[in-house]
């Protein structure tokens, strides 16, 4: 078993509150991811069986979402907006600076496992472009020069 008893209970409880158990599947995947950083295969299998879904069905949902990670990520996830307003305001240079400062390539993890750098669609903060998120924090009007000091806050 890869889920704790408490996790299995939390998932079953959430499923019982829903009109159909599978409606709780995203919350369940997120619960797993919040504690492990990503959703490993064995946990996915167990969640599927609690919710009465096949493994393939649940994986189809999990892989649809770009913010459910099926593979390990770094301690901190950096989401750099690459959409139109941020592009106009120079997100490419920002991303390169973040990549240099973190050691993580676009779409990859730094060798020390500290950062994963992912492109993201419009963060809904276009009047403060370019924008990025590190974990749950939004950083606005970021500059290439300031990239290293943003990352320094995330040990």
């Amino acid at each position: 078993m890869s889920l704790t008893k408490e996790e299995r209970q939390a998932i079953a409880q959430e499923a019982a509150r829903m009109p159909s158990p599978r409606a709780a599947c995203l919350d369940a995947l997120r619960l797993v991811q919040e504690r492990r950083g990503h959703v490993p295969d064995d946990a996915l299998r167990e969640v599927a069986s609690i919710l009465g879904m096949s493994e393939a069905e649940l994986d189809a949902v999990a892989t649809f979402y770009n913010l459910i990670f099926r593979r390990p990520v770094g301690r901190h996830v950096v989401l750099v907006c690459e959409s139109v307003s941020c592009w106009i305001m120079g997100c490419e240079r920002l991303r390169e600076a973040l990549s240099r400062a973190s050691g993580a390539p676009r779409g990859g993890t730094s060798p020390d496992g500290r950062f994963t750098l992912l492109p993201i669609q419009c963060l809904g903060d276009c009047d403060h472009a370019p924008a990025l998120m590190v974990d749950e924090d939004l950083h606005r009007e970021a500059t290439p020069e300031g990239a290293a000091s943003i990352l320094a806050r995330y040990p």
Binding site: P19, S20, N66, G124, C126, D127, A129
Partner: protein, 428 residues
């Protein structure tokens, strides 16, 4: 008049329940449940002329009237607030969610009562972390105050309202994709008909509305349709959140009368273009709207007028293109987004958008061929409404087809010069 944003604290905090209530908040629920039948509310919303603020501008009251009524109608019913806001260039619902969450809840309670729904959902994108915290707090406060839950105000009507936090993908905002996502499925769209108002979540009648649309409802119920219509300057009723981003002097978001001109937004509120830059064109309402040219700045920012000008009001948040930014690069950025977000269900969208993005990428890097420009026009035409299940593909065609018309010389120069003529812009 700023009914939607006037109460939002300048400090950046959310408006507390006590302040919302002191300013008349939740009185529309009291009025509706005490004095009005559900069909009367639908009539008031119809009379107000409110059109959906999620991009398509469908009449809100009309949509509600399609929900089957009467004792034999299917139950339970659902109301969904679409807070997925992922249209590139759009940042309006964020302010309403973060600044005045109770206004949204009140709008949802009223809409739910009008269609006699017993379940309401907020479908929120994950990235809106602050909004999620504030909505959770507001839902708990509203439930404790008796505005949500069982037998609201002794009316016999109950409403269970929940927050669903999503995990990315533009498609989740498309209303039938959203319904699949809420049911725990991949967010591919559903064929219509049946429309969600007849058969939506778990096959039950469901209404999906944009956040800004719902935030208008308490004011319409409290102050009446004539007042609401008087807020608009031209054909459309109410106020609207308008935004501007790109290289304008003061990017931002403003609540203004429906029908202000694009010039007032860009030159007035946003202060015009930055020093040394000229406006070349603009997307009037997000990534999936046709470019308008700088010569069309006097278009009234309302649904029919923008359509007449050759584009769509969309979300009303303008993205400005300046004369030092490459239009081909901008369209490449947009089509790359759409290609990536395509759910893959329909061939023209899955294959055509990827192809368009590849051609644009070749052009932008100076490897384009003369015939590529024509191929792009053909691809845009193949994505027209009617050839795909959902509006993602036709939306993707809009900035492409209009850019080819407005900035055709730029596309051709990329071919003849064998490089991007703007490529030194980064140095500037």
């Amino acid at each position: 008049m700023k009914p939607l944003t006037g109460l939002i604290p300048r400090s950046g905090d959310a408006l507390p329940l006590a302040d919302y209530a002191a300013a008349g908040g939740y009185q529309a629920v009291r009025k509706a449940l005490g004095e009005m039948t559900p069909s009367e509310i639908i009539q008031v919303v119809k009379d107000s002329g409110l059109r959906g603020r999620g991009g398509a501008g469908f009449g809100t009251g009309l949509k509600w009237s399609f929900v089957p009524a009467g004792p034999d109608a299917p139950r339970p019913r659902h109301l969904v607030a679409n807070a997925d806001e992922m249209e590139p260039g759009t940042f309006k619902d964020r302010l309403l969610l973060e600044g005045n969450p109770h206004q949204l809840l009140e709008g949802m309670i009223l809409a739910s009562y009008a269609i006699q729904a017993e379940h309401a959902w907020i479908f929120l994108r994950w990235e809106y972390r602050l909004a999620a915290r504030r909505l959770r707090a507001a839902i708990a406060e509203a439930a404790a105050a008796g505005w949500l839950g069982r037998d609201i105000l002794g009316s016999g009507w109950s409403l269970d309202l929940r927050l669903h936090v999503s995990a990315g993908r533009y498609m989740c905002g498309e209303e039938t994709g959203l319904l699949n996502a809420l049911e725990g499925r991949r967010a591919t769209p559903r064929a219509k008909p049946p429309f969600p108002q007849a058969s939506g979540l778990w096959g039950r009648p469901t209404v999906v509305q944009n956040v800004e649309t719902l935030c208008n409802i308490p004011h319409i119920v409290a102050r009446g349709p004539a007042w609401f219509r008087s807020l608009g300057r031209g054909a459309d009723a109410g106020t609207k959140l308008y935004g501007a981003s790109g290289k304008v002097r003061r990017p931002g978001l403003w609540e203004l009368p429906m029908g202000v001109t694009a010039r007032e937004v860009i030159e007035g509120h946003a202060g015009g273009m930055r020093e040394g830059l000229r406006l070349r064109g603009f997307l009037p309402g997000g990534a999936s709207t046709d470019f308008l040219s700088a010569g069309q700045l006097d278009v009234a920012m309302e649904f029919d007028a923008v359509a007449l000008a050759g584009s769509r009001l969309g979300t009303g948040t303008i993205v400005a293109l300046d004369d030092r930014t490459c239009p081909v690069g901008m369209v490449l950025n947009l089509e790359t987004f759409f290609a990536q977000e395509s759910c893959g269900w329909c061939t023209p969208c899955r294959e055509g958008l990827r192809w368009a993005a590849d051609l644009l990428s070749a052009l932008e890097s100076g490897h384009g061929r003369p015939e590529d420009v024509e191929t792009l026009a053909e691809l845009a035409a193949s994505l027209a409404p009617g050839s795909t299940y959902c509006a993602l593909a036709p939306g993707a065609a809009e900035p492409l087809q209009s850019a080819l018309l407005l900035f055709g010389d730029d596309f051709r120069r990329h071919v003849t010069d064998g490089r991007c003529p703007y490529s030194l812009r980064a140095a500037a």
